[in-house]
Each structure stands twice: as structure tokens, then as C-alpha cells.
């Protein structure tokens, strides 16, 4: 086997994986703060990216478009909390999950209704071409864009980890995800915290949406990326920020290696389910994902 090629597959797989991690991160945030699997995260990515690109198309400078989009996401978070979540406190998690499905339809409709369902090009000014230096030395094609995306994802993970584990708000958020009612009973204001965390998730969605949007164009399909983020989320553990990134690396490289080296023998296209099989195998060893909080069972 060609060693350079193997490493090229491995590295580009990892870089792909980081792109999934970006989306998975949004899920993790909301899960960590409420124990809810937010089905609408994909729609939030779509909404954020679409809002951003439409502001750009109106001729606004990039910083203004960015700030306005952030504002939209924050307002949205507050509204979601006020109108939906606050009425569902303390309900079984599957009900909250279901509510986010409703939210998903709503946001998909809203995003495409207010803006439109067309395909928009987005250019962030990050070149999607091979890094010349790497290519010269190793013969590998590693895209500048991927490296930039990886750096952004890494910094996001770092910042969010600090917020969750070193601050009062972070501690309160983790408490809420364990037990809504107990959190309320000790005086944690669920409404405010949820609004905060949905706003952060909105910001993460914007980052993911903008980066993916440059690659795919801003269009409805952005909401489908959530599907690729799912195995990452499961493998890393629903409530681990670090897990999201590590699992992204694992899944990305795993699926690419499998597709390139195993795919041709079984007709190809195994990337569609391979991440799930990988995640499942690891779940057998650790049922809560690689970095997820232990499942505590007492009778």
C-alpha cells in the first residue's frame, strides 16, 4: 500500500471530520444544558447561514452582516425559550425532543419563507486550494480551507469547554441537564440559562453554516449536514464538547479510510453507514460514548 496515500486519506478524513464536529457542537451545547437532543440544530444552521448570506447580498459589509445575523440568532433563542421551552419544563425528554422536531419544521419554513429556497453562493475569502508547501514536500493535497476550519473548530471547543467547566453559568447548565426541577428548586433560572445556551448554539450554527455554506452554497441541504454530525455526536458522547471534536476526527478518518480501502470491494458508498457502525462498536465498550457522562443506574 502507498503510505503517502494512506496518510493523505487519513489526514483529509480528519479534516472532514472536524467539519462535522462543528455541527455536532451545536447539539452538544443544548444537550449539555437541558438534556434535550435538539433536532432543530440543522435548521438553525440553515437559518443562520441563509440570514448571513442574504445580508451580504444586500450589500452590507461583512462585519455588519455578521453582527446582524448574531442578533437574529439571539432574538430567536429568546423567543424559542419564551414561547416553547418554558412551557415544557420538567416534561419527559422525549417530549422536548419532539418539540424540537416541530421547531425544526418551523425554522425550515421560516428560513426559506423569509429569505428564499434558492441556492446562494458564499465566499468568505478563504481559498479552497491545496496548501502548496505541503504538496511540494509530501505530495499530499491538503486544502487551506480545511486547515482554517479545523483551527476555528479547535478554538470554539477550547472556549466552550472553559465556559462549561470553569464558570458558574456552566455549572448551572450542567445541573439543569441532570435534573430540571432540582435546578429550579435551588433557584437556577431555567428561562435565562436556556435562552443563553440556545443563543450560543445559534452562534455555533452560524459558524458551521458559514463554513459549510462556502463549500456547498447556502441552500436547504445545509440542514442535512446534521445527519452527518449524528454519529460524531453519539461516538463522542452527547454532552462532551471535547468528545465532539475527537469523535469528529475518528469518524472522519474512519469513514474515509473505509470508503477508499474497503469500499471498492463491496460496491462503494459505505460511507453512508460506516460511521454508525463505528459508533455502535465503540458504544459496546462504552455505552455513554467516548467522553460522555457515565450513565448512572440505581434501583
Amino acid at each position: 500500500m502507498d503510505v503517502v496515500f494512506f496518510f493523505e486519506v487519513l489526514i483529509s478524513g480528519m479534516l472532514s471530520g472536524v467539519m462535522y464536529s462543528l455541527v455536532a457542537l451545536g447539539f452538544v451545547l443544548i444537550y449539555k444544558a437541558s438534556g434535550v437532543f435538539n433536532f432543530a440544530q440543522g435548521a438553525m444552521v440553515l437559518l443562520a447561514a441563509l440570514t448571513f448570506v442574504r445580508f451580504l447580498e444586500m450589500g452590507l459589509p461583512i462585519w455588519l452582516a455578521l453582527s446582524l445575523t448574531l442578533l437574529v440568532m439571539v432574538v430567536l433563542a429568546v423567543l424559542i425559550e419564551k414561547l416553547v421551552l418554558s412551557h415544557l419544563v420538567n416534561q419527559p425528554l422525549i417530549i422536548l425532543f419532539m418539540a424540537t422536531i416541530g421547531l425544526n419544521f418551523f425554522l425550515e419554513g421560516l428560513a426559506q419563507g423569509v429569505w428564499d429556497s434558492q441556492v446562494h453562493g458564499l465566499d468568505l475569502g478563504i481559498e479552497d486550494v491545496p496548501l502548496a508547501a505541503v504538496e511540494e514536500v509530501t505530495g499530499m493535497f491538503i486544502s487551506v480551507f480545511d486547515v482554517v476550519a479545523a483551527v476555528i473548530a479547535g478554538s470554539l471547543v477550547l472556549v466552550l469547554s472553559i465556559v462549561f467547566h470553569k464558570t458558574k453559568v456552566g455549572r448551572a447548565l450542567r445541573a439543569v441537564s441532570d435534573d430540571h426541577q432540582a435546578a429550579m428548586s435551588v433557584g437556577i433560572p431555567l428561562d435565562r440559562l436556556w435562552a443563553i445556551v440556545w443563543a450560543i448554539a445559534g452562534v455555533v450554527a452560524l459558524v458551521a453554516g458559514a463554513l459549510w455554506g462556502q463549500r456547498l452554497g447556502v441552500q436547504f441541504s445545509l440542514s442535512i449536514i446534521a445527519l452527518k454530525a449524528l454519529p460524531v455526536l453519539i461516538l463522542g458522547g452527547f454532552n462532551s464538547i471535547l468528545g465532539a471534536i475527537v469523535a469528529g476526527l475518528l469518524i472522519g478518518s474512519g469513514e474515509k479510510l473505509a470508503e477508499v480501502f474497503l469500499g471498492p470491494y463491496v460496491g462503494g458508498g459505505i460511507e453512508a453507514f460506516f460511521p454508525y457502525v463505528l459508533a455502535m462498536l465503540i458504544l459496546f465498550i462504552r455505552p455513554e460514548g467516548l467522553f460522555g457522562d457515565k450513565i448512572i443506574e440505581r434501583v
Binding site: F37, H87, G102, L110, G113, L227, L230, P231, V266
Partner: protein, 355 residues
């Protein structure tokens, strides 16, 4: 005083164990059956039968299959679309490869094949739980899609990928007219629903619920978790397989793997949750909501805004209304439409003196 069990004294065990112990419920069931068998086929237009009733019954069956697994046995599955595909393709292959096989037998065999597949994918359920289990079933969904689309044998070596299903012939009777196809589906649905109703009241149903509520505790009192969970997977995917076969043969009249994609799995889950976990009737209510509401919303806009020159915004507004209604119903009654019905019964029982 309309709905009250007081005064209905059960004098035999048989009466106590009847499916509908309360007279009013029994009458209600009779009315529903009468409506389904007599009123709907005579009164409803072909359009209503074709576009609403037939798919509604099939989706209700699919939702019931998941409800048995999720609502009763507590095992989350996002692979039911895939299980339906197994049923559809299995039925197609039985029907085309074994000539003169009675189609009902063929459907039942398809159900058994699906059950076997379901049990296989249920194996991880012993160790993996909750949303994490969803991944195993998601893997099932994708693996099934992959296998069926990778090996043309499943689609009868057809170059076109999608295949037409054979005509439905039962004992020489060609089930072809809309009404006939409606009865065909209704027959399956009624028989299977009554069987399920009995199953969930039996000891297996009780052990499912015990596993659902606390599997470690259930194990302590002597319920074998793996066996119980696998039976749930098996029964559930058996039903899903039959629903899939009905969907392909009676509704789409084509076997197309894309009709059983992940979104259908999600749809079935929506039906179960909105209808009410752990309620067979809820499955049908949920199916009605999830399947019919978007069409009804669409018809409403067509009626009120005319059938021409819709703007994109209206199409999207339909999505928003649909999503909004889901949230609205959850806020009003988180335990689903079936619970809404129970609460209503509770009110009727107290009526006219609430407290």
C-alpha cells in the same frame, strides 16, 4: 352521566378481561368499525380513499409497530423505515419468485423476514440504551438501504432500480379497485391491531412495560431483558414489515428504496410521540396528524388562495404552521393525542359536576 363505568359490574372473569370492559367503549369500537367498513367506503370519494384512508391505515400500522417497541418496551428505533423496506422487498421477491403463492401468505412471510432482521438489529439493545440505541437502529436504516440498493437481485435484477409490484390477486379475486384495496388494507390493520391489543395486555406486554420502566428492576423480578427486548423488536418489525409491504403493493404500487428513507423513520417516530406513547389508538391518531395535516394545510391554502400562482412563502408557511401545531399540541398535552382523549373521558366521567 354519558360516560361512566359505575354500575357496570363484572360478574365473570371473562367480562373482566374483555378488551373493552366498559360498555361505552365497546359501543365506541362498534361505531368505529361500522364507520370504517360501511360509511367510509360508501361516502368517501376515490380521492379521500386513495390519498387519505389507505395511506393513513398503513402509516397507522407502522406507527403501532413502533409504539409497541417504544411506547411499551421502551426501545427507541429510528430504523422503522428500513424495516418497512425489508418487508416491501421481501414481499416483492416472494411474490415474483414463487409463483402462485397466496399474497397473504407472502405478506406474512415478508413480516417474518423483517422480524428476523429486526431481531438481529435489536441485539445491541441489551447494552446500549436510549438515544444511544437510536444509533444502532440508524445503522440498521442505512445498512438496509445500502444492501438493497447495492444488490440488484433484491429489485429483481431490474435495470431501472425501482420496480413495479405485481398485481394483488387473492383466490382469483383481483384487488384492483380503490374500495377493494381499502378493504384489503383495513382487513390487515383490524386483525393486527386486535392481536396487538391482546398482546400488550398479556404477560409479554406486562414484561415489556416492566423493562421500559426500569430494566434493571425488571431483571431482578425475573424478567429476562434480552429475550423480552428481542421479542419486542421482533413483533415490532414484523408489523413494520407488513406495513412496508402494504405501502409498496397497495399504495405506491412500486418498490422504491427511496420511499423508505430515514425521513420516513422519523415520520413514524413523530406519529408515535404525537399520538401518545404506549397507546395503540394513539398510533392511529398520530398517523392521522402527521400524515394528513400537511395535506390538509395544503388543501386549505389551495381552497382559500386558489390553485394557481402560489408564492414560495405560502409553501413555507405551511411548514411553519405544521411545525407550530406540533409544538402547540405538545405544550397543551405533552402525552399525546391519546392522553387528550383520556383526559376528555375523565372530564366526561365527572360531568356535569367537575369537582
Amino acid at each position: 352521566m354519558i360516560y361512566r363505568e359505575a354500575g357496570q359490574i363484572k360478574t365473570t372473569y371473562r367480562a373482566d378481561m374483555a378488551i373493552f370492559p366498559i360498555t361505552q367503549d365497546r359501543i365506541g369500537f362498534m361505531i368505529i368499525m361500522a364507520v370504517a367498513i360501511v360509511a367510509i367506503p360508501t361516502l368517501a370519494s376515490t380521492y379521500v380513499l386513495e390519498a387519505f384512508m389507505i395511506p393513513f391505515l398503513i402509516w397507522g400500522l407502522a406507527a403501532m409497530s413502533l409504539n409497541i417497541m417504544l411506547g411499551y418496551a421502551g426501545q427507541l428505533s429510528l430504523g422503522h423505515g428500513g424495516f418497512m423496506a425489508v418487508g416491501a422487498y421481501a414481499a416483492y421477491n416472494f411474490a415474483t419468485r414463487i409463483p402462485d403463492l397466496n399474497l397473504i401468505v407472502c405478506f406474512l412471510l415478508a413480516g417474518l423476514v423483517t422480524a428476523a432482521v429486526g431481531v438481529f438489529f435489536g441485539l445491541p439493545s441489551l447494552r446500549i440504551k436510549g438515544f444511544y440505541l437510536a444509533v444502532a437502529t440508524l445503522a440498521a436504516q442505512f445498512i438496509i438501504e445500502f444492501v438493497i440498493s447495492s444488490f440488484p437481485w433484491f429489485a429483481g435484477d431490474n435495470m431501472m432500480g425501482a420496480v413495479d409490484t405485481p398485481a394483488i390477486v387473492l383466490f382469483g379475486w383481483q384487488v384492483d379497485e380503490t374500495v377493494e384495496r381499502y378493504y384489503f388494507v383495513l382487513g390487515f390493520v383490524v386483525v393486527l391491531t386486535l392481536l396487538c391489543k391482546n398482546m400488550v395486555r398479556s404477560s409479554i406486554g406486562r414484561s415489556w412495560m416492566a423493562i421500559r420502566d426500569m430494566d434493571v428492576a425488571a431483571e431482578v423480578i425475573g424478567i429476562r431483558p434480552l429475550q423480552t427486548k428481542l421479542i419486542a423488536f421482533g413483533v415490532s418489525s414484523f408489523l413494520a414489515g407488513i406495513a412496508g409491504a402494504l405501502y409498496a403493493f397497495v399504495y405506491l404500487k412500486a418498490c422504491d428504496i427511496t420511499s423508505f428513507d430515514l425521513f420516513q423513520s422519523f415520520n413514524i417516530l413523530f406519529m408515535v410521540i404525537l399520538g401518545g406513547l404506549g397507546s395503540l389508538m394513539g398510533s392511529y391518531l398520530g398517523a392521522a396528524f402527521v400524515m394528513m395535516l400537511p395535506i390538509v394545510l395544503n388543501l386549505l391554502t389551495t381552497t382559500f388562495l386558489g390553485g394557481t400562482g402560489h408564492s414560495d412563502f405560502i409553501a413555507n408557511a405551511e411548514h411553519m404552521v405544521y411545525g407550530g401545531l406540533i409544538m402547540f399540541f405538545l405544550i397543551v398535552e405533552p402525552y399525546g393525542l391519546a392522553r387528550m382523549w383520556t383526559t376528555t373521558k375523565e372530564k366526561l366521567r365527572l360531568w356535569p359536576f367537575p369537582h
